[in-house]
Symmetry: C2
């Protein structure tokens, strides 16, 4: 994956540093590094503390600034992440993003603890591992919270619409994107299919967060978007499996794909059916417990079990967490649980959005770099297809008068981290050329960062036209509420 | 440190597995292991999820069982940790505790994700790193919460008493322990000094948790114990620095010790003075914020900054978190913050106690193993000195009629993870013989596991005699409260 990364970084200085870092690799076993293992653990803890301080400062500064100019706070967190990340301050960076020497945070840890920066490779790797997993736990908790605030009955009612939106939102950008790349840019079939596939997946996290901030999560549009995004996530995983095996072996492993589809369907339907059967016993057990934290810990066990199962059958952990939230939303513990999950989400979710921003390398956007230009031209095509493909999907909704179809389509626009997974897998398998890979990343950046303000805009127009006040004030203290309210 | 570990494990089978693991080390760079880095990250996440499920199940089962037979819940968590840890089920184990092959949890991850167990070394290391750091964050949040529930003015008022308790509680067991080891067991001076030093430190976490469970934290005894335990922690760090340099070079580095003492004093006094000056601005900034989680995130930033500073100047991160809690307890955000930190503590604190239990290797207690016998005899001497030395310290309190001096002394008994650090450093530097090292570990196990029930017993007697109801019901829902109360 190193050639992909250095292509993205695109700076000779950084590439030079990275090369020397790679040369060091076979010599230095990081687990037997210059500092002893007994010294490593306190340094990893100190680095994690410092990273969390940076994450929270960036999240709050970005979020507050955006909230003041009436933009979604989550956009501020993403931009805050970009500023502290690999594109600017190099405070929150990851080993796969270009080696240890560039982590200013590690230099600071070295300085304040009297440890030479060269000795900190092992510490850096440990810190990155912990922050990555905490970010993943953050998005798991976010989806659990989204599930808790969703309404299973409403979700089932809008199911057919959500399925239509999801399917059109996958097929339209894939077909137009692939055909366009072949016809307009003369790209080979397999890389074109791969890039087309990268246009399909929706980042459920970003859209769901914006909807929650606007208290639109339990609106009809909100529930269609959430339902479609969940299905989209499943479809995205299947599409990725198909194109990855296509790239690897030149053919599609039907059995593998069939296994994935069956697994996903069984999991989503099965977990909700079995969960609803078991949830009375869950409440009974919780009521019997006498020690502190009985509701939250029992719920986390339930959410993590479903998340683990989803991850183990090659789906995504967030799908399991979402299903767990949906099931527990129907129990009598629902209100108490929502209150208790809120501070945990406050603590973990920003780590996710900041690291998404921090991993985003804006240097691919620099048109002064000749290597970027081919990618930027393809990218503008991909951005147009990515946006139109999803907006069209919103308009296929049938039999739902009064639904803001534009809002549904716009809600599906952000590709977020899911698109980056496609770019990463494509580059690692050698299918994507550097310019095509860069184009996918530019497309992901644009769709991810434009969706939050766009979504707010289309919902605002809606409110002005219909003059219908939002009915769902259940959502815990959000952007607009004053701090004294809680 | 490997010889210490294999000495502790004491089983030929396990030692054999560990040896083959060590032989593999120079060959296999874990960062370039059998599975590619792109496959590692989801597996690390899945393993962390599974570990958390095991941690929470063990914590709740242990805690609930103990609560039902009127023992402190934290004892149940420690025992639960032992059961899932290296002594029994091998579900939560750490690389330094004997190599990957023994982690049944990793085998399960391998089985359910279709990954061969041999390929999981890198995943196992990542998972252990994350769980270790989350446990450390747990004890940081615990001490922050303890600080929030403490009363700075009361702590200053009982300061002289706490200082007396701390000093006598360090000097008495150290002097008696060292002299006894030399006189009774014919042990050399330097190892005897090291073992004596391991008798000094108090595990503030375990005592504070038991006090909180009994709602005794803001009682006079509670505040003396907390104050003394904090000072003890500082003294313990200084003692460790002294004996470690003594073991390494044969002499005491006066400058280093003076630096530590000055740093500790400056930090504790300085952070509280500066913190009190700045806290009105903190409240002002929080009141200006409009986005979700403003109180909790701002407070975590503050706590983590102090924790980082404490860690950076070679103190412990928990001291910084405790100071931050003390300072924020005096602000108007105090009540709101206590409510919000509670679910975060519920989520993270059990990870700490379970891992303390999981790392405890009970095989040193097996008298059938001839190698253990010498250690067990020394251990029984150390346990007696450890208990009497701290109980005596409680009785030096002066001018405080009505204070339960026995309770204060008993509160200082648990050595917990601090004692294990001494054993680890001692073994790593080669100063301690295997039997002496094992004896220290046995002493730590006994004092840690006996303190919670003892503490509850002495406080109960107190209540019966004086018939004075506990006044501090501020502490959020604890053991005795019914689940419906919240």
């Amino acid at each position: 994956m190193a050639n992909w990364m250095s292509a993205l970084i695109g700076s000779d200085l950084i590439a030079g540093i990275q090369n020397s870092y790679e040369l060091l690799q076979p010599l230095a076993n990081p687990w037997l590094a210059e500092i002893s293992e007994a010294e490593v653990e306190p340094l990893v803890l100190a680095s994690v503390l410092l990273s969390l301080i940076v994450v929270y400062l960036a999240a709050k500064l970005g979020g507050e600034l955006c909230a003041r100019v009436n933009l979604p706070a989550v956009l501020g967190e993403l931009v805050g992440g970009v500023i502290v990340g690999v594109s600017a301050l190099h405070l929150i960076v990851f080993p796969e993003g270009g080696g240890e020497v560039q982590s200013l945070l590690m230099n600071f840890v070295g300085m304040t603890t009297g440890q030479a920066p060269e000795g900190l490779l092992r510490v850096f790797q440990g810190e990155s591992e912990v922050i990555s997993v905490m970010a993943e736990l953050g998005v798991i908790i976010l989806l659990f919270e989204i599930g808790l605030e969703s309404d299973l009955k409403e979700l089932i009612r809008v199911g057919p619409q959500a399925a239509m939106v999801a399917i059109v939102g996958v097929v339209a950008p894939f077909a137009v994107g692939t055909a366009g790349l072949i016809a307009l840019f003369g790209i080979d079939t397999i890389p074109a299919v791969f890039a087309g596939a990268a246009l399909t997946a929706t980042s459920i996290g970003i859209t769901a967060k914006v909807l929650a901030e606007m208290q639109k999560l339990s609106s009809k549009e909100g529930q269609i978007i959430i339902g479609a995004a969940v299905l989209d996530d499943v479809l995205g995983i299947i599409v990725l499996a198909v194109v990855a095996s296509l790239a690897k072996t030149g053919e599609i492993e039907i059995l593998n794909v069939a296994y994935l589809i069956a697994g996903a369907a069984t999991f989503l339907v099965g977990s909700i059916l079995v969960g609803r059967l078991l949830s009375p016993y869950f409440v009974m057990v919780v009521d019997q417990m006498k020690t502190r934290g009985q509701v939250i810990i029992s719920s986390l066990i339930f959410a993590f079990v479903l998340a683990y199962i989803a991850a183990a059958i090659q789906l995504e952990a967030i799908l399991g967490a979402f299903a767990a939230g949906l099931i527990l939303a129907e129990t009598s513990k629902h209100k108490e649980l929502e209150e208790q999950i809120s501070p945990i989400a406050d603590m973990l979710v920003p780590i996710f959005f900041i690291t998404v921003g921090a991993r985003t390398d804006l240097s691919v956007l620099n048109p002064l770099e000749p290597a970027n230009r081919a990618g930027l031209i393809i990218a503008s095509f991909l951005v147009v297809v990515a946006v139109i493909g999803k907006v069209i999907a919103g308009f296929v909704i049938f039999g739902q008068p009064g639904v803001n179809r534009l809002a549904v389509g716009v809600g599906m626009i952000p590709r977020g981290e899911v698109g980056l997974v496609f770019a990463g897998v494509g580059a690692a398998s050698g299918v994507l050329t550097e310019s095509l890979d860069a184009a996918i990343i530019v497309m992901v950046i644009f769709t991810t960062f434009m969706a939050p303000p766009l979504l707010r805009m289309v919902f605002k127009t809606d409110d002005e036209v219909v003059a219908m006040p939002s009915a769902d004030l259940e959502v815990a203290e959000e952007v607009e509420s004053s701090p004294e309210a809680s």
